[in-house]
């Protein structure tokens, strides 16, 4: 780990060895942990829980409470941007269930002593993101910690009939993604420093700054509008995180007892070459995403209506694959689809 600079504004990413959703504990380790502790979703009035993006309780006939928590280490150096990304990422797990009303956030933040001055800027970024989705920060907890981290415990409500899980996908459904992939490679390029700057710049055909700023723009785009667009049409929904697109497709496959075939990879233009340079596996669907898009299954007869809903709400969306009768998730000669904003 590089020693943090002391004479310039602190670079938040230098205070942690793993960044953003790359910190995530692996799926199999998580499954083992939950199994060993006997944690399952068998509780009265629980609509869904462990294994989904969030837990949902039935409060009354027409009201469900959705709860989730997510936090991670800095993926960018600017504290306000980091706060916005952390909030959008935490919110995304609630939005993936279709819950978008009464959004509240309890901030979870840890900082090394030498970074306590940036706490208020991180909070400003989080607060801006909450305001953008008509939500609010309603409390939180902070602690001193060797690695900085920030995020939040999110609550939101929904009509129980509007809720989505990863379990509802059926063979024949088509699969859509609401943000392009590639933020891990973009932010990796941002961190390499002057020693390898030329190598990185030579690897891509557009300015590195464009790639980085687009990645940040996608990460700071809340998934609420996407959730509102899909929830009347989708059969299943999750959000793409540290497991990457293929990992998240495997979650759908396992939870819905179906197969998933990925045939297209929408990517931030320039990130495939960076990923190849770094060995991140973007072209294999394995690169970690932070504050990624919603991965949505929709039946054939609802595709047209959902496309209209995406257009009406000005939500980016690309078709990326299909649900099959098989099992597991795999890439099938995927086309790389470069996206620039």
């Amino acid at each position: 780990m590089t020693e943090p600079a002391t004479t310039e504004p602190p670079r938040l990413t230098e205070f942690a060895d793993l960044h953003g959703c790359s910190c995530k504990v692996g799926q199999s380790e998580l499954d083992d942990l939950l199994a060993s502790a006997g944690v399952d979703e068998d509780h009265p009035h629980l609509l869904f829980g462990v294994g989904e993006d969030a837990g949902a309780r039935l409060l009354s006939e027409d009201l469900a409470l959705v709860q989730t928590v997510d936090f991670f280490t800095p993926i960018v150096d600017a504290p306000t941007e980091f706060g916005r990304i952390a909030a959008c990422n935490a919110l995304s797990d609630a939005f993936a269930t279709g819950a978008t009303a009464n959004v509240s956030c309890l901030v979870v933040m840890g900082l090394p002593r030498e970074l306590t001055d940036v706490a208020s800027d991180i909070l400003v970024g989080m607060s801006e993101a909450l305001e953008e989705v008509d939500g609010a920060i309603v409390g939180g907890h902070t602690t001193v910690n060797p690695w900085p981290f920030a995020g939040g415990a999110i609550t939101a409500t929904a009509d129980p009939g509007d809720l989505l899980t990863s379990e509802g996908a059926s063979p024949g459904d088509r699969l859509f993604l609401t943000k392009p992939l590639g933020v891990q490679a973009a932010m990796g390029a941002h961190r390499v420093g002057s020693e390898f700057e030329k190598t990185v710049r030579n690897a891509i055909e557009r300015p590195m700054e464009e790639v980085v700023s687009e990645a940040i723009a996608w990460m700071t785009t809340p998934n609420r509008d996407a959730a509102l667009a899909v929830r009347d049409h989708a059969t299943a929904c999750t959000d793409v995180t540290g497991f990457g697109l293929l990992g998240q497709a495997r979650v759908i496959a396992a939870n819905a007892d179906v197969g998933v075939e990925i045939t297209s990879l929408p990517v931030i233009e320039g990130t495939p070459a960076l990923s190849e340079l770094f060995g991140y596996g973007l072209e294999d669907g394995e690169s970690a995403e932070t504050s990624g898009g919603l991965l949505v299954a929709v039946s054939e007869d609802e595709v047209s209506a959902m496309r209209t809903a995406f257009d009406r709400r000005d939500v980016f969306a690309r078709e990326v694959g299909t649900i099959t009768t098989g099992s597991g998730a795999r890439l099938v000669n995927p086309t790389l689809d470069p996206i620039s904003r």
């Binding site: 060895d17 190598t199 990185v200």
Partner: protein
């Protein structure tokens, strides 16, 4: 046999350091890479194998430390 130690380096730097070392080698030569950052082992293996290098894992410990033997094959290209 050339040796490079990327202990303490976090991604994506190990891949770039190894790439620089490999660019100095000829066909048939081998680079030994030591490191301790768990994601780097997978990322290095992936990036080198995709470029036609032969990667042999000599050590892969639970604490994340690893040692790889990377050989320049006739198909290898630094890209």
């Amino acid at each position: 046999m050339t040796h490079v130690d990327v202990t303490g380096e976090v991604c994506p730097r190990p891949a770039l350091i190894v790439r620089r070392e490999l660019s100095e080698l000829e066909e048939g030569e081998t680079l030994i890479v030591e490191g301790d950052y768990p994601p780097a082992q997978k990322n290095l293996t992936r990036s080198c194998e995709k470029r036609g290098f032969d990667v042999n894992t000599i050590e892969s410990a639970e604490n994340g430390s690893f040692e790889l033997e990377i050989t320049v094959t006739e198909f290898a290209s630094i890209g």
